[in-house]
Amino acid sequence: MRAVRSLLWLAVVGGYAVLPWLAPSLTYQLTIVLALGLAALAVSLMLQAGLISFGHALFYAAGAYAAAYLGRLTGAHVVITLLLSSLSAALLALIAGLLIVRYRGIFFAMLNLALSMVAYTLLLKLYNVTGGSDGLVVSATGVAGYAMGPTGLADLLFYLALAAAVLAAWFVRVYLRSPAGWALGAIQDREIRVEYLGVSARRVLLVAYVLSGGLAGLGGAIAGIAVGHVAPDSAYWTTSAGFVVMAVLGGGGDVFGAFAGAALYEMLSVFAAQYLSSSWELLLGVIIFVIVRFAPSGLWGFYDGLWRRMAAGER
């Protein structure tokens, strides 16, 4: 049964990889799903410790703005831009995390939100540096010295985003099975026992927070390059709330849940907007209600439950 599930995942990743060939017009949207999935994965990582962040758009925006600057400095080399943008967001998470990981519950959520709104205001007001409400152009023209046309670059970015998403999902999965990753759930359960086992809960959370910031930043950089532009809205609190919705829709039980949540969210925002005009959030609200009511562990939990029932049936 385990082998079948692994093969199924390979088929899903393989199927996703050939979609741009079958429907080239979807390449942009498929890339954005991966970018949002990385940000949702970042939020989902902190949810393992029971900590909900309404401010991860800060790191998403940091990644996108870093891509805008680094694109110029690195001669628009996509791979280097993505890596350095992610590292920049991780560095910002390290600085913010030194303060934020001291707090739990609603204080953690609100402090994240506050910092992201401070960043949003700075992005708006520091016009000479950030372009103000106009934002910045994010330019990327190729890789390893080869300039590419818009279509080639879109394909390249898609496959880079897919590789980054697979690598990130694999790494987070491995990390969550290690003691430092397992400690996140332990902190949610009994922080006092974690401390009395000689482990610093703050350090465990800081490492997770930096990783989380790096993932969100990577997502932001991918989205920035795909769009070719970044604006202060990327740091606004509603962007953060979107990541939380994706993480909840997908379910925190496994890393793939974040990507499933991002795919559903993006599908709704794109396709439902065609038919429901500006009220697609109505449909989103109904779907959130249905999932919370009937599948509280999200899409992943629903899928996992099906496999468990099948495995139990076999026995």
Partner: protein
């Protein structure tokens, strides 16, 4: 006589008008089982909380192996070699007994920060198996901590502390909430495990039968002070202790 492992010197702590510790002077020696007894509110658990860094005394100091540890964070005191078990076991309730122990082993040893080393790696699993055997927890190893009986939870709480290979273990009422039929069995398992691991232990205990059977020395607490301490026969049969404490 050997040098004391733990020493309290003139420790004072009050919460508003309540004196929780009043000029507490005590020495705990290597290898002994020291039992703290006294009525509820006498300051027994407060003393353990002071020794493990949960509370900071307003006056006096605590020395461990001759070094002051007063006011250090619980984590630092744990790292120094003092572990504790709680009156209400502090366990990772949704996880299996085995995973609880693997995590405690990982917390103490090397490899905690290596992401490629999973919690079920033999590096963590082998010592966890030894602790399961030592504390008689093998039959419930696969069950979530939330699903096992209170007696097993008490043993698991101690096993988590033993995973840290402590020099001194402080146990707050390790048999409370357990049926009187199971008490002696649990204490026998604990005592054997502690002796085998060569761990010095300080117990807070209410059951005088348990104290009489397992204590090397007893200290009687009242109003945050030590009234009397000494061998269990001498202390427990003292008329003053019998009248005011027991």
């Amino acid at each position: 006589m050997s040098a004391p492992l733990l020493e309290a010197r003139g420790v004072d702590l009050h919460f508003g008008g309540v004196q929780a510790a009043k000029d507490v002077n005590l020495q705990i020696f290597p290898g002994e089982f020291f039992f703290i007894i006294g009525q509820n509110g006498a300051g027994k658990s407060t003393f353990l909380n002071i020794c493990t860094g949960y509370l900071k005394p307003q006056r006096g100091e605590i020395l461990f192996q001759g070094r002051p540890i007063t006011g250090l964070a619980p984590r630092a005191i744990t790292r120094a070699g003092i572990a504790r078990a709680f009156q209400h076991p502090q366990l990772f309730m949704q996880r299996s007994v085995r995973d609880n122990l693997r995590f405690a082993v990982a917390a103490h040893g090397t490899g905690f920060w290596r992401p490629w080393r999973a919690l079920d790696d033999p590096h963590f699993d082998a010592p966890a198996r030894r602790l399961l055997q030592l504390c008689d927890l093998e039959r419930v190893a696969a069950q979530p901590a939330a699903k096992v009986a209170e007696g097993f939870r008490k043993l698991l709480d101690v096993a988590l502390a033993l995973a840290l290979e402590p020099t001194l273990l402080l146990l707050d009422e390790p048999t409370s909430g357990v049926s009187s039929a199971d008490k002696h069995g649990i204490m026998t398992t604990l005592a054997q495990a502690l002796r085998k691991e060569r761990v010095t232990a300080v117990f807070v205990e209410h059951d005088m039968e348990v104290v009489r059977r397992f204590a090397d020395r007893v200290g009687v607490w009242a109003n945050g002070q030590i009234l009397i301490s000494g061998p269990p026969e001498a202390v427990l049969d003292d008329p003053h202790v019998r009248e005011f404490v027991l």
